[in-house]
Amino acid sequence: MSAILEIESLRKVYADGFEALKDVNLEIKTGEIVALLGPNGAGKTTLISTVCGITQASAGHVRVGGYDILRDFRQARSMIGLVPQEINLEPFEKVISTVQFSRGLFGKPRDDAKTEQILRQLSLWDKRDSQVRELSGGMKRRVLIAKALSHEPKLLFLDEPTAGVDVELRKDMWEIVAGLKAAGVTIVLTTHYIEEAEAIADRVGVIAKGEMLLIEEKARLMDRMGQKQLEVQLSAPITEIPAALETYALSLSEDGCALTYSYDTRRERTGITKLLSDVSAAGLVLRDVVTRQSSLEDIFVGLVHAGEEDAT
């Protein structure tokens, strides 16, 4: 797959001296969904704004579909759709005319069939003649997406698409994203909801303090970083861990009914077989065995934390 977005050594220092991006490198392949995770103020929005031309880079290069965003700004920007974080819309304008305006602004001739298709896809067709201010917050967000899609972009940026959105709408949004991916649109979304990245992304990047800490396939990331836990549930409670099991660094649940063992899936020997035989040798009777894999959230918190420790 060819790269649709190439970012090289991108740096952004704001007028007040704040360094929002420090030497960011990123390559995004055609057709994938990439989630950029990071705490507030990490530089996610600055990164997107710079690619889209809203913010001027201090240094570095960005190419979209092979076109430099400064030198060939027309070609580059024609390929990009942007859904901003804030709901910024002309309140008195009709839904359909604001979407048609966006299409025209991006240089595409009016196409009623296309506009209808986009509005239907986003369940906005029935509201097409409503003024934007009459819509609910969730509907307004859909209008933002419709505007961004109006010129049929190849690369769509969704900046915090589900911030402050209720659970139901969030699920809807994920479905919309899945539909766009099926239609061949490359999607970059920022979020600070880990579950969102986990639910829809192919790759996950983690940004903190203007640096790309890592970017990796979601599954690989979770594999690589994944700590697994084995919970051994006992048929009768115990008050303390038998001495024979001390080497395993087990933790005992409060009710005394479960022992938890942490292990790394990457290690050649996880020690599970020996643990289980030692448990039965110690005279404990097993009721059930459960394993758990750490979520992206655990990985993320671990990474951002490590980053902060490095900085100090």
Partner: protein, 253 residues
């Protein structure tokens, strides 16, 4: 040149104008009629002719200029300030359009609205006074240039303003006095010599003088100078806007 984009912006802006067509047109027509009643009929009847023209007719070019300049500035400044205020400039900045296209769309729409109003006021004045237009082509040219240049100025004000007070500040504190003191209601030859000299530093004098010349064939300053002044003003505004987009001043971080 992304002409589709220019057309999109232009149409979008004109839609705003037509949405509020009543207030867009009624208020200038009403205020102009009031001027005719007060200055033309009530006071004007006691004023002798100015340069051989009845006072009611004499003030027509100035009145049109007054409205056109005010409207051009307020339309253009609001047109670009409002997207800034509600945050929709992100779309303009991320679109494949150059500054010239953005300006052509916004300023073109603002100038067109101002033209509309200018023409309507001219039509209204035919109801009140008897006027002939000596140089119709020059009249239209002056009208277009005035609409255009002051829309450019309005665009700059709209980008500069960071709140609604500032948006009103320049038109109120600078433009209105310049227009009133620019000979809208009198010929500057009626002033004492010292004030005549001071008036020559007021750019609006050249506009109104030139515009009045196209109606009556007489002017305070030579017509060539008037044309030069307005051309220079247009170029100046364009240069400022070019600089704004080049540096991203107040638009792009």
């Amino acid at each position: 040149m992304n002409l589709t984009a220019v057309r999109a912006i232009f149409k979008f802006e004109m839609a705003r104008f037509f949405r509020t067509i009543a207030q867009s047109l009624i208020s200038p027509v009403l205020s102009t009629s009031l001027y005719f009643v007060v200055f033309g009929a009530a006071i004007g009847s006691r004023i002798e002719e100015v340069e051989g023209i009845s006072y009611g007719a004499f003030i027509v070019p100035g009145l049109i200029m007054l409205s056109v300049i005010t409207q051009a500035i307020s339309n253009a400044s609001f047109g670009i300030y409002f997207p800034k205020f509600i945050g929709t400039t992100y779309e303009l900045l991320s679109a494949p359009v150059s500054f010239l296209e953005i300006v052509a769309g916004y300023v073109g729409a603002a100038a067109t609205k101002a033209m509309f109003i200018g023409v309507i006021i001219l039509a209204t004045s035919f109801v009140f006074v008897d006027i002939q237009i000596a140089h119709p082509v020059a009249m239209v040219l002056f009208l277009i240039l005035t609409c255009l240049s002051f829309s450019l100025l309005g665009f700059i004000i709209g980008i500069w303003a960071s709140n609604f007070e500032q948006l009103q500040l320049v038109p109120l504190l600078v433009v209105t006095p310049l227009v009133f003191l620019g000979g809208s209601f009198y010929s500057i030859t009626m002033l004492p010599p010292i004030w005549q000299t001071i008036s020559l530093f007021n750019p609006v004098v050249y506009l109104i003088s030139g515009f009045r010349w196209s109606f009556f064939g007489s002017a305070d300053v030579p017509i060539g100078l008037s044309l030069l002044a307005i051309a220079a003003f247009t170029v100046f505004c364009l240069a400022v806007i070019w600089w704004i987009f080049k540096t991203g001043w107040r638009l792009r971080q």
